[in-house]
Amino acid sequence: MDSLALLSFGPNGWGNQLAGGVAVTVALSLATLPVGLVAGFFVALGKQSADPLIKLSAEIYTTIFRGLPELLTLFLVYYGAQFGFSALSKLILGYAVEINPFLAGMVALGLVSSSYASETFLSAFRGIPFGQYEGAYAVGLSRYLTLRLVIVPQLLRLALPGLSNMWLNLMKDTALVSVITLNDLLRITTVAVGATKQPFFFYTVACLIYLLFSMLSSIGIWRIDAWASRGVKPR
């Protein structure tokens, strides 16, 4: 029972701190998701470009950020930005600017998730028959309108399984940001372990909280899938 007291929200429990860590984890995941989706979409467009240079650029991007360990990407962004910005800001402002670990995490996870999302979008693009484009042009839609009204709605449905995987991975990868001192769920847990000497208990709790997120996400994804496939699967 004294274990449960450790999780209480009072002055003796770690409830408040853990809730704060959960908030940071959720905020980082939600803030990175649109970055990964939008960047991934454009990289996918680039990958199926007729222009060989654009195609090559997009392929270099995904080869690098899918091949690097997420942790290394994070360090490269964090320390790289620290060195780059502090040199730059010393030059211009006269003092070194601190790099926000939240922002560094967002950029690093955005790079990783966008390269995964681009693969998903690319195979979804390939799943859309060419006749859809031809039909849209035949009724006089512009390229932009074709993309928005005809292609993207189908793309969403086809890409959803891959994108939901990307989201689940993104959420789990946010735990890595604890290493660059962002006070997310895992880092708060580590702080609590340091104070209470109860590693097994606290890391189990952290794992269960992540598991809860995965479950909630699965439910959400299931509902989005039902919405995205409303035109295809008559029930």
Binding site: A50, D51, I54, S57, L71, L76, L211
Partner: protein, 270 residues
């Protein structure tokens, strides 16, 4: 960027667009800067002092990943059997196992095992297992193996399910027993389906193994972090990136070649 999409019905334009030139120009500058940065850290005594540490870390990473994958494969077999079993209890247990390890971050699992074991040091000493958990390298292998076992069991059970039921029924009708059916009919076909996901899993494991560096294992990432803490030179991280990229790309190509080789009897005649 949208201008480049192949939604056009015209043949591809032979002349590269301005956007393409700009993009490739950015990459050229980045790669040039990368090469300069990489070259800067191999000068003089730095190579002697730190170069071999990083190379040693590279081999530690390979050993770590290989051990985790092999142990994980062994654990994945009973889990996959549970996933495919008609027994409800076995099914639920196997699903819970795979759901837990796939639904939580590997870094949290690693902490749970490494630091969590520390809490039970006395008990583990009592049953004679402390020598194992005392070493961060062993804990990393255990955590990675349990994690990859969850993914591998999904790959394996999914691939076995994907083999058409007619194959099994035909073998059964010919009078084959359960084991030869599995060994000679189902598994060879399932492994072809599983090859690509297995290849992906190896790559994911290599990338995830960098997490071992956080619990003080001196793998490629761990050695790089150590060297960085000594020199404060970020180009060592770039070297680690090159090592990881080469390893991952080589494996990806090897696995693609292997797939082409063993599926050549399925390739359509042209």
């Amino acid at each position: 960027m949208t201008t480049g999409a192949t939604v056009t019905l015209q043949p591809p334009t032979p002349r590269p667009s301005v956007a393409g030139v700009i993009l490739i120009g950015i990459w050229a500058v980045v790669l040039l800067g990368l090469i300069l940065a990489l070259a800067s850290s191999v000068s003089g005594d730095r190579l002697d002092r730190y170069g071999w540490l990083i190379v040693r870390g590279f081999f530690t990473t390979i050993r770590l990943v290989a051990a985790s994958l092999i142990v994980g494969a062994a654990i994945s077999v009973p889990v996959a059997a549970g996933r495919l079993s008609r027994n409800r209890v076995a099914g639920v247990l196997a699903y819970a196992y795979s759901y837990f390890f796939r639904g939580t971050p590997l870094i949290a699992q690693t902490f749970l095992i490494y630091y969590g074991a520390g809490q039970f040091a006395l008990e583990l000493r009592g049953i004679g297992l402390w020598w194992f958990f005392r070493d961060a390298y062993n804990c990393a292998i255990l955590a990675f193996a349990l994690n990859t076992a969850a993914y591998q069991s999904e790959i394996l059970s999914g691939a076995i399910r994907a083999v058409p039921a007619g194959q099994r029924e035909a073998a059964h009708a010919l009078g084959l027993h359960a084991f030869p059916i599995l060994w000679r009919i189902v598994l060879p076909q399932a492994l072809i389906i599983a090859l690509r996901p297995y290849g992906n899993e190896v790559v994911l494991m290599i990338k995830a193994s960098a997490i071992a560096s956080i619990i003080t294992v001196l793998d490629l990432m761990g050695q790089t972090r150590y060297v960085f803490s000594q020199t404060y030179d970020i180009s060592f991280y770039l070297w680690a990136a090159v090592f990881y990229l080469v390893l991952v790309e080589a494996l990806r190509r090897a696995s693609n070649a292997l797939e082409r080789r063993i599926t050549r009897h399925l390739a359509r005649a042209k």
